[in-house]
């Protein structure tokens, strides 16, 4: 199945085409999505870790929305990039590490959002749990970015 994906007309076009709109653009949009996604998450995390306490927690809702946009863009572009190189990526330890880190990162983000906005505590206060989650989040997403970038160099 991986081979079929790899040999599909789309994958052939993505890797084979000389057009700037093929692989280069998809890769660049993937980078853009990452920058938006991880940038917004980093700001949520540093706020929860105690920097910029003047920033109302309520206003972070906007950053969560930005995060979902970045995540959607990268789910699409990431699938495209995977399709082009399916059999190589599927067996790559670095790639699997990256996917696991992203899954943990998303779960952490959902937990943070719940803790901030669905809790019954004082909304003006960051709970200890949220602080710990923020630390996990920043480490996990840094790991995901690193693993993604290293895919260009190691299997």
């Amino acid at each position: 199945m991986l081979a079929a994906l790899e040999h599909s007309a789309f994958s052939q076009w993505l890797l084979g085409s000389n057009s700037i709109w093929a692989y280069p653009t998809v890769l660049t949009v993937h980078t853009l999505g990452m920058m938006v996604l991880v940038g917004a998450i980093a700001m949520i995390d540093v706020r929860l870790l105690g920097f910029g306490r003047g920033i109302p927690l309520e206003s972070l809702r906007t950053l969560f929305r930005v995060t979902w946009i970045g995540l959607s863009v990268n789910a699409v572009t990431g699938s495209m990039l995977f399709a082009a190189d399916a059999s190589k990526r599927a067996g790559s330890p670095t790639f699997i590490t990256k996917l696991v880190l992203i899954a943990v990162g998303i779960a952490t983000l959902v937990l943070i959002k719940r803790d901030l906005f669905d809790g019954h505590g004082d909304p003006g206060d960051v709970s200890r749990r949220a602080r710990r989650l923020a630390l996990v989040s920043i480490l996990v997403w840094s790991g995901a970015v690193t693993a993604g970038r290293l895919l260009a160099y190691v299997n």
Binding site: P24, T28, V38, G54, T146
Partner: protein
Amino acid sequence: MSAIASLGDLAHLHLLLNHAPTVGTTIAVGLLVLAFIRKSDDLATVALELSFGVALVTLPVFFTGLAAQAALADAEGVSAGAITSHEDAALFSFVMMAITGVVSWVAIWQRRRSSRPTRGTVIAVFVLSCFTLTAMARTALLGGAIRHPEITSSDGAAEAAGGWLTTKAVAGFVTQHEWVWPTSEALHFLGMSLMFGTLLIVSLRLMGGMKSMSFAAAHRLLPFGVLGFAINVVTGMLFFIAAPEQYVDNVSFHWKVVLLELMGACFLLLTVYDRLWALPAGGVPPRMARVLAVSTLVAAVGVMYFGRMLPFIGNAF
């Protein structure tokens, strides 16, 4: 994509821009002295802003220097040794200037945030600027000696600086260890995300989002942007010095540097602009702020775009 500058143009640009670090730093030091004498906070702020701006311009000065070197490759009567001495002195000066620029920015940011005078940081900028100026003057002398042997005395004033901070040593470090380039790439992406996140939160507020946040609250996070920027200057310089042939004549790199300068200018404005600083929670941002926010984000995305496109639009790798 068509080229925006040939090697010759870049060599010209180098001769044009290379005066900025020496002349700019001289003026900044002079203004700081005047600020101390007159006890003028405004003069000190101008000096700090100038110092940050000069540090920003020093990036293309260094980059165009390597283009000038390439343009001079087959020129007669030019000694490769003189160029290497100039290049190594330039690298040291660049590092000094970059540190001065970052400390200047910290001083600007502190002054914006607190009414207390930030004497310690300003004195640090003054001392750093004096060292930078000395290093830059020496670089200028060695640079001049490439075409004007008459300015150096016969006892070898143009001798190589030696030491560990030479472009050859840096390039060797990057190419001899297999892990350095990939590690630096990963750090470059992390630095980029951190910087973009900072610019994003500030710009969102100025474009009408996150209304319940005062601008001053978002301003608190700007040092994370500088941290990301610093990580990327260091890692970016490692790439550039290790493989200058991938960048000097690369149109994608040229656009990247142009947008980098624009982004830096936007960053300075976001740090100092009075009307932004005064924007309270719930306040409507002035129209100019919207223009600044959009310019900032366009420049930041553009820097990423042309960086990622280096191998595709240009000739890198």
